[in-house]
């Protein structure tokens, strides 16, 4: 009831203000009349009665003011007054307002944009219920040594059998799939093979139809397929008749049972088909194709699950002596999707924009302090007229928050542009880029940051401004005396912190830039110009090509036709491509190598390549020979090893002529003679140290899905159509996918570091610009303040050099202090960059030396302009100044 009554009063006071006021006025006038009446009854004359009544009332306006003070919503009303006054003041100081709003817009804009990125990637709820309870389970073991590697069905069965932490552990595998059937031309898509519990673990429902039911992953279960919405629209015109239809998946008939919405994108962003994975009882360990996914049981934490799974890992090692140092890392779904390198990068960038905002705040605080000097008399006057100090502070804060919100609103446009830019320039492997957008949460963030910013940069000037020493302020007349000096010191401190902050950013940006340049210098191990290399993933489609003989004939024809396309210099097929498309990998034994019992060689890349592979990519031959057309399936098995392989497993001794053999589970007994040694090539990414590799001739280790490499010195642009036509005409089931140049592949592989570096360099640039504006402002202001003094000095014979030295000396001192603090901050903070750096230490001497120099240069330029202006001061004018 009291609350309702207050709300009612608030509405009345704010909405019908004029009426409320009229009412109050009438009430008091009646009172006056009544008292006058009484006085007259006591025998006074009208004039006297009236005067006495007025004395009794004590001033009608004061009484009204007192009543207004107790009204609900009084604060709001004052706020409106302050806002009106603030807008007027800001409009009167257009230059100040413009500079402040633009500075804030820059600071808040980049923060809002970066917030949207961080929120979209790290925070926005995933489209799966309680996604933080879903874990992806990996396997890491020697000899493989992949931190987030795969397991085999036996490992999964052991996990499932001993599991108590998760509901229904499921298994999935990503793979390329050929899709075909009556509905359209065959195509290659990204697919996934999953156990029956996969969809129910993620708790997602299909658009139409159903997902896999319990038991549909039993051995010899019928082949079923769930399609994505995209493929459903593309190939089936979004018709519900698709349900129950039979399509060809990798040449085998499968029944379509459901369609998933495109919001569902797992395990990969581009996954379009999910098939059921029949768990045929494995006869051995391997192949290692799978990752686990499971939902935590209620009350179980991720840490507890990890502990339990660790003990399962121990049992796996006991059961299979092939596994050494085995662990089963568990990641929650988001970390699994985002990856482990992106998160630190985004956090560093978010921190960096925080610093940019801080610098913007310092700059505006500085402007406000300068203006506070000008407004000192206004404040003093208002204080002496009886304004309360709290009231003045509130008014000044209202002004600064108003400024900040204007900056924020302008910044919003900037943020929008920034986000569009980031999306357009998506490095290609940023997950959830679609969920990066300017939305309600970003708006909320922007508003909150604006308010905080306004209070932050407004508070110091407000406190100082409202404390004006009345007599001196009114006397001072704007020329720097005692209070002015204190303010000068505060401004100097702000500029120092600005230099320190932007130097810290500059060092960070410098480190990332150096790291990125290092990365650019890394080659994949091949000398062919990346622009001249075109790669295409080819699948012959029909099941008949699973047969080695038919397949080899097919690929001979592919190569023959490719070579006959005008402009093609060399053509080859391979299952692996630098810099990061590793094909098969396996462990091996060397004939005559004495391995301690129970030990084995690590798993290394084992590319399968046709003879011209090395020449096409320009991989140097160090010793022996390349593969030739005579290394056929019916000739003696041969292999080529990399230099790194020789160094590591032959201790640099002669390798040509020795024999090696694949030795992972499931391999036969085929000894291969090493016939050549080639240069090192990177197959696991540019930042991974070159891994040893052994190559096998395609003709002796056939696989149906292969990359075709085409080298053309004339460029690859005109070739695509001809290649597609000529290759597809071999067999109607043939599909071509992932057509792109090596240049694109290299760019994509460094896209995230490039993204990080570009952004941090941009942020450091903004920081420097803001710092330069801040220093310029301070020096220019102090020159203006000291015009009189400079004039006197020049009149007394000071030379131009003396004046410049005097002005620059001040800047130099501030810069020196700022640089010392900034370097300290950089030392403390750059270790956060460690995970992002390649080939450069967090305390890289060059960066730590160059960044301060750059900073000094900027300060020099910012100081130079006002200093030169100081020397142009004419003594005559200066002495008349003011």
């Amino acid at each position: 009831m009291p609350f309702l009554s207050r709300m009612f009063s608030l509405g009345r006071n704010l909405l019908t203000r004029a009426r409320v006021e009229r009412d109050l006025d009438a009430e008091l006038r009646v009172y006056l009349d009544q008292v006058t009446d009484e006085n007259r009854k006591r025998g006074m004359g009208f004039a006297e009665a009236r005067r006495e009544a007025q004395i009794e009332l004590g001033g009608i306006e004061q009484v009204k003011e007192h009543v207004r003070q107790v009204r609900t919503g009084q604060m709001l009303e004052e706020l409106f007054v302050d806002l009106r006054y603030g807008i007027r003041t800001l409009r009167k100081n257009l230059a100040f307002t413009l500079v402040a709003v633009l500075t804030l817009a820059l600071g808040i804009g980049v923060n809002t944009a970066m917030f949207s990125v961080a929120y979209g990637i790290l925070l926005r709820p995933l489209p799966y219920p309680a996604a933080d309870r879903v874990a992806v389970v990996y396997m890491n073991y020697f000899p493989r040594d992949f931190k987030f590697g795969t397991m085999c069905i036996r490992d999964y069965l052991m996990w499932k059998e001993n599991n108590r932490s998760f509901e229904d552990p499921s298994l999935f595998r990503s793979l390329r799939m050929d899709i075909g059937g009556n509905e359209g031309v065959p195509e290659q898509v990204q697919g996934a093979s999953v156990t029956a519990g996969f969809f129910s673990t993620l708790q997602v429902n299909p658009l139409i139809g159903r997902t896999f039911a319990v038991g549909e992953d039993r051995p010899a279960a019928a082949s079923l397929a769930v399609l994505s919405e995209s493929i459903w629209r593309r190939r089936f015109a979004a018709s519900s008749a698709v349900l129950g239809q039979t399509i060809l998946v990798n040449g085998a008939p499968s029944t379509v049972i459901g369609v998933m919405s495109d919001v569902f994108r797992f395990p990969r962003r581009e996954t379009e088909v999910w098939t059921n994975l029949p768990q045929n009882p494995p006869t051995r360990f391997g192949p290692w194709f799978y990752r686990g996914i499971a939902r935590l049981k209620p009350g179980v934490t991720m840490e507890q699950a990890q502990l339990e799974i660790n003990s399962i890992g121990l049992r796996l090692m006991q059961e299979n002596n092939y596994y050494k140092r085995l662990t089963l890392p568990v990641l929650n779904l988001r970390d699994a999707l985002v990856g482990t390198t992106l998160k630190p990068a985004i956090l560093v960038l978010a921190g960096a924009v925080g610093l940019v905002l801080l610098i913007a705040v310092v700059n505006v605080a500085n402007l406000m302090l300068a203006r506070a000097t000008v407004r000192e008399r206004e404040m003093a006057l208002r204080l002496s007229l009886g304004a309360r100090r709290g009231r003045l502070i509130r008014q000044l804060l209202t002004e600064s928050v108003l400024l900040a919100v204007m900056g924020g609103a302008t910044g919003l446009a900037l943020a929008w542009g920034g986000i569009e830019l980031i999306r357009a320039w998506n490095p290609g492997n940023l997950p959830f880029i679609d969920s990066v957008r300017l939305d309600r949460s970003a708006l909320g963030f922007m508003f909150l940051v604006s308010m905080l910013t306004g209070i932050l940069f407004g508070l110091a000037p407000a406190l100082q401004g409202s404390r004006a020493d009345l007599s001196s302020a009114i006397k001072e007349g704007g020329r720097g005396a005692s209070a002015g000096q204190a303010r000068g010191r505060a401004r100097a401190a702000l500029v120092v912190s600005e230099i320190a902050l932007s130097l810290t950013l500059l060092v960070g940006a410098g480190l990332l830039l150096r790291s990125f340049l290092n990365l650019q210098r890394v080659t994949g191990g091949f000398s062919a110009p990346p622009r001249q290399i075109l790669t295409i993933l080819i699948s012959p489609g029909s099941k008949k090509y699973n047969d080695e003989h038919a397949g080899l004939v097919f690929y001979d024809e592919v190569l023959r036709r490719t070579r006959s396309v005008p402009g093609v210099d060399l053509a080859a097929v391979t299952d692996s491509l630098p810099p990061d498309r590793q094909g098969d990998a396996d462990t091996f034994v060397i004939d005559g190598q004495a391995l301690p019992s129970g030990e084995m060689n690590p798993i290394v890349s084992e590319p399968t390549v046709s003879p011209d592979y090395f020449r096409a990519l320009g991989i140097p031959l160090v010793k022996g020979r390349y593969f030739t057309e005579y290394d056929r399936s019916d000739s003696a098995p041969v292999a080529i090893v990399s230099e790194g392989f020789v160094r590591r497993f032959f201790s640099g001794q002669e390798a040509v002529g020795k024999r090696i053999k694949q030795s992972g589970p499931g391999n036969g007994d085929k000894w291969m003679e090493i016939v050549g040694v080639v240069g090192n090539v990177k197959y696991l990414g540019l930042t991974i140290d070159t891994d040893p590799a052994y190559y096998m001739p395609f003709a002796q280790t056939y696989g149906p899905r292969m990359y075709l490499i085409v080298r053309s010195s004339g460029g690859t642009v005109g070739l695509r159509a001809a290649l597609r036509r000529d290759i597809q005409s071999i067999d109607p089931g043939v599909t071509l996918a992932q057509i792109g140049t090596m240049e694109q592949a290299l760019n994509l592989s460094v896209s995230q570091p490039r993204f990080d570096t570009m952004l941090l360099v941009l942020f450091a640039g903004i920081a420097m610009l803001l710092a330069a504006v801040g220093i310029y402002g301070l020096i220019a202001y102090s020159v203006a303040q000291r015009t009189h003094e400079i004039g006197v000095r020049m009149a007394l014979g000071a030379a131009t050099g003396d004046v410049i030295r005097m002005i620059a000396g001040q800047a130099a001192l501030l810069t020196a202090i700022g640089i010392v603090i900034g370097l300290g901050g950089a030392f403390a903070l750059t270790r956060l960059l460690e995970a992002l750096l390649f080939g450069v230490g967090v305390t890289d001497a060059l960066t730590f030396a160059a960044a301060p120099l750059g900073m000094m240069l900027v300060v020099l330029v910012a100081t130079f302009v006002p200093a030169i202006r100081a020397t142009r001061i004419s003594p005559v004018v200066a002495l008349r100044y003011e």
Partner: protein
């Protein structure tokens, strides 16, 4: 009357106004007279305190007001107790009695 006694505590003023309105609705001047009357002339409420108090109490929901004709045929704004106001009067009366009793016993203590 010494100055100290007229320097009313805010709570006291509220209580006196509530009490003054306990029987019937009154306009501002009448409330002032009524307070003076029921306190035997001890308290004279000045308009500078009376009107802010009336408006505050009205916004709190204890009083309601309406314009009506006064005894000498002038339009005046009359205040009356609301239900919440009556409850408030009871509460404040109890509180005051407790305090008065406590102070009295404190002063009598030897």
């Amino acid at each position: 009357m010494s100055k100290a006694t007229t320097n009313l505590l805010q709570g006291t003023l509220d209580l006196l106004i509530l009490k003054a309105l306990a029987l019937t609705a009154l306009h501002g001047l009448a409330i002032s007279h009524r307070v003076e009357q029921i306190t035997n002339g001890t308290f004279h409420v000045k308009p500078g305190s009376l009107f802010p108090a009336l408006h505050r109490m009205e916004e709190a929901g204890w009083l309601s007001s309406s314009w009506g004709d006064s005894e000498n045929n002038r339009r005046a704004k009359f205040y009356r107790l609301t239900t919440a106001g009556r409850r408030q009067l009871q509460t404040e009366t109890r509180q005051w009695e407790t305090i008065a009793l406590a102070i009295a016993s404190a002063l009598q203590a030897s």
